[in-house]
C-alpha cells in the first residue's frame, strides 16, 4: 500500500475527466501505468502530460463497436476503470424524453461493453464501474440518473459471477465538489476521494461484487445546496 509498488497497467475510460485523472494519480503513486482513454485528443494529451511519463493517452470512442475489446488487445491492461461522464441533458423521469434518456444511458452501454471486454483480462485483473449515490437514494428531479446508476449496479451484480475470476466492483460516488448539504461530514467530496476508493478496490485481491459508497453518508437535502 505504501512500500508496495506494482507496475500493473490500468486502462481508464474517461481518462481526461476529473474522476479518471484522480484514478490515474492513485495508480501512478503506486508505481503503475495509467492508460487514459477519451475522445478529445487535445484534452487527453494535456492531462496525460501533466501526469508524467507513467501516463499514456489513447484516443478512442468507447461507444464504437468493439472499441474497448480492441483496447484490451492492444494495450494489455491488468485492470479497467470506467470513469466516463455523460454529456446528456436529463432530469426527472416525467420530464425527460426517451431519446434524451437514451443519451444519458450511453454511460450504461460503455459500462456494458467494458464488462464484456473485462472477461478477457488476465485472471488477476479487475474492472471497476462508477454508479452514483442516487442509485439507492433517489431525489426528485434526478430520476433518469437514479435509474442509470441503478442499472450499472444491476449490471455489476449479474456479471460478477459471469466474468470471474476477473473481479468486478462498483464505486458509488456522492456529490463531488458540491456544497455538502446532503453529507454527514461537513466537507465537500473531491475527485481524489473517488480515485482513492477505486485504487482500494483495484489493489485488494479479495474484493469482488462490492458496491462501495463514497458519499459521506449522503442521505438528505438537495444537491443544489438550496
Amino acid at each position: 500500500m505504501s512500500a508496495v509498488t506494482d507496475t500493473q497497467r490500468v486502462l481508464i475510460l474517461g481518462g481526461s475527466g476529473r474522476m479518471g485523472r484522480a484514478t490515474a494519480k492513485a495508480v501512478i503513486e503506486r508505481g503503475g501505468t495509467a492508460i487514459l482513454v477519451g475522445r478529445d485528443a487535445g484534452k487527453l494529451s494535456r492531462v496525460a502530460g501533466a501526469l508524467g511519463d507513467k501516463a499514456t493517452a489513447v484516443v478512442a470512442d468507447g461507444n464504437a463497436d468493439g472499441a474497448i475489446s480492441n483496447l484490451v488487445t492492444s494495450e494489455q491492461p491488468d485492470h479497467i476503470v470506467v470513469a466516463v461522464s455523460a454529456s446528456a441533458r436529463a432530469s426527472d423521469i416525467p420530464g425527460t424524453s426517451a431519446d434524451q434518456a437514451k443519451r444519458a444511458f450511453g454511460r450504461f452501454w460503455i459500462s456494458y461493453a467494458a464488462v464484456q471486454a473485462a472477461a478477457s483480462l488476465p485472471s488477476h485483473g479487475s474492472i471497476t464501474l462508477l454508479s452514483g449515490s442516487s442509485a439507492r437514494t433517489p431525489a426528485p428531479g434526478y430520476g433518469v440518473w437514479s435509474t442509470l446508476h441503478g442499472s450499472i449496479e444491476a449490471l455489476a451484480r449479474a456479471a460478477v459471477i459471469e466474468i470471474a475470476p476477473v473481479r468486478l466492483n462498483v464505486v458509488s460516488p456522492g456529490g463531488i465538489d458540491m456544497s455538502p448539504d446532503r453529507q454527514l461530514v461537513p466537507r465537500a467530496g473531491t475527485a481524489d476521494d473517488i480515485g482513492q476508493a477505486i485504487a482500494a478496490l483495484i489493489y485488494n485481491p479479495a474484493i469482488t461484487g462490492a458496491v462501495l459508497d463514497v458519499d459521506s453518508g449522503e442521505r438528505k437535502g438537495t444537491w443544489s445546496g438550496d
Binding site: 503513486e29 461530514v185 482513492q196 474484493i207 461484487g209
Partner: protein
C-alpha cells in the same frame, strides 16, 4: 505531505483485538504507513509479541484491556490523548457459538452478542477522543448480508453481524462528523477458522469463490486502511469476501 492516498503519517490508530490475525495485520500495515499504533487486547504478552514485529515498534504501545468491560477500557486509556482511528477486529470465539438453533443453550445465544457489545463499548469508551476527520471501523461478517447455510449453526451469529452493520450505519449519523464504517469479511484464514476441523478451507476458497482466492488477514487490513484514510466514506458497509456473497 505524502501523495500516497492511504498515508497515515502521525495519525494515532487504536486496534482492539490486535494480538493476532486481522488485528495484527492491521497493526503492521498501519505502522508501515506511518501511524502511531495502540495495540489493545486482553494479553499484554501477546500484544508485545505483535508489537515487536511491527515496522516501527518504537512508534507503538500496548494496552491490555478486554472489550467487554467499558469502565476498564476507559480506565486503561486514561493517559491516552486524542486519537484518529479506531479499528475493532476483536473476535469473541465466534465458532464456539455455533450450534443447531433448536438445541442452542440460552447462554450461548446471549454470548453470541459479545461481538456486538464489545464493539459498542469500545466506541462508547473511546469515541469522544476521535479528532476531526477520524473514523471508527467496526467488524461484522458477510453473513450479515447473506445468511450462511442451514448446517452452519450460525443463525443467531448471523443476526449479530447484521446488528453490527445497522448500528454502525446509525452511529455514522449520530456521531458525525466522526466517520463510522463496517467491514464485512468472508472466510479468512486466521486461527478463528483454521483451528477448527473444517476441511481444507483454503482449497475450497481457491476453487469456489468468484475471486478464486483464499482470504488472508492482509486483505482485510488493506480494506480497513482504505476506509480509515478516505475522508468521504462514512456509513459504508464493505464486503471483503472474494465474492462469497454473490454465490
Amino acid at each position: 505531505m505524502s501523495l500516497n492516498p492511504f498515508d497515515l503519517t502521525d495519525q494515532t490508530v487504536v486496534i482492539v483485538g490486535a494480538s493476532s490475525g486481522i488485528g495484527a495485520a492491521t497493526a503492521r500495515l498501519s505502522s508501515q504507513l506511518g501511524s502511531h499504533v495502540i495495540l489493545v487486547s486482553r494479553s499484554m504478552d501477546k500484544l508485545e509479541a505483535v508489537r515487536a514485529t511491527l515496522p516501527h515498534p518504537e512508534n507503538a504501545r500496548s494496552i491490555a484491556a478486554g472489550y467487554l468491560d467499558r469502565d476498564a477500557l476507559n480506565a486503561a486509556f486514561s493517559d491516552v490523548g486524542s486519537i484518529h482511528h479506531i479499528v475493532i477486529p476483536a473476535v469473541a470465539n465466534e465458532n464456539k457459538k455455533r450450534g443447531a438453533f433448536t438445541a442452542l443453550p440460552v447462554d450461548t445465544m446471549r454470548a453470541s452478542f459479545d461481538k456486538f457489545w464489545g464493539q459498542t463499548f469500545v466506541v462508547q469508551a473511546l469515541g469522544q477522543r476521535i479528532v476531526q476527520g477520524g473514523s471508527v471501523t467496526l467488524f461484522a461478517s458477510v453473513a450479515g448480508l447473506k445468511p450462511s447455510g442451514a448446517d452452519s449453526g450460525l443463525s443467531i451469529m448471523n443476526g449479530v453481524q447484521a446488528a453490527v452493520m445497522q448500528t454502525g450505519r446509525s452511529l455514522a449519523i449520530e456521531l458525525a462528523p466522526v466517520r463510522v464504517n463496517v467491514l464485512a469479511p468472508g472466510v479468512v484464514l486466521t486461527s478463528v477458522w483454521t483451528s477448527e476441523p473444517r476441511g481444507d478451507l483454503k482449497s475450497w476458497m481457491e476453487k469456489s469463490l468468484p475471486a478464486r482466492i483464499a482470504g488472508e488477514p492482509e486483505h482485510i487490513a488493506q480494506a480497513a486502511v482504505s476506509l480509515m484514510t478516505n475522508r468521504y466514506i462514512t456509513g459504508a458497509v464493505l464486503p471483503v469476501d472474494g465474492g462469497l456473497q454473490t454465490t
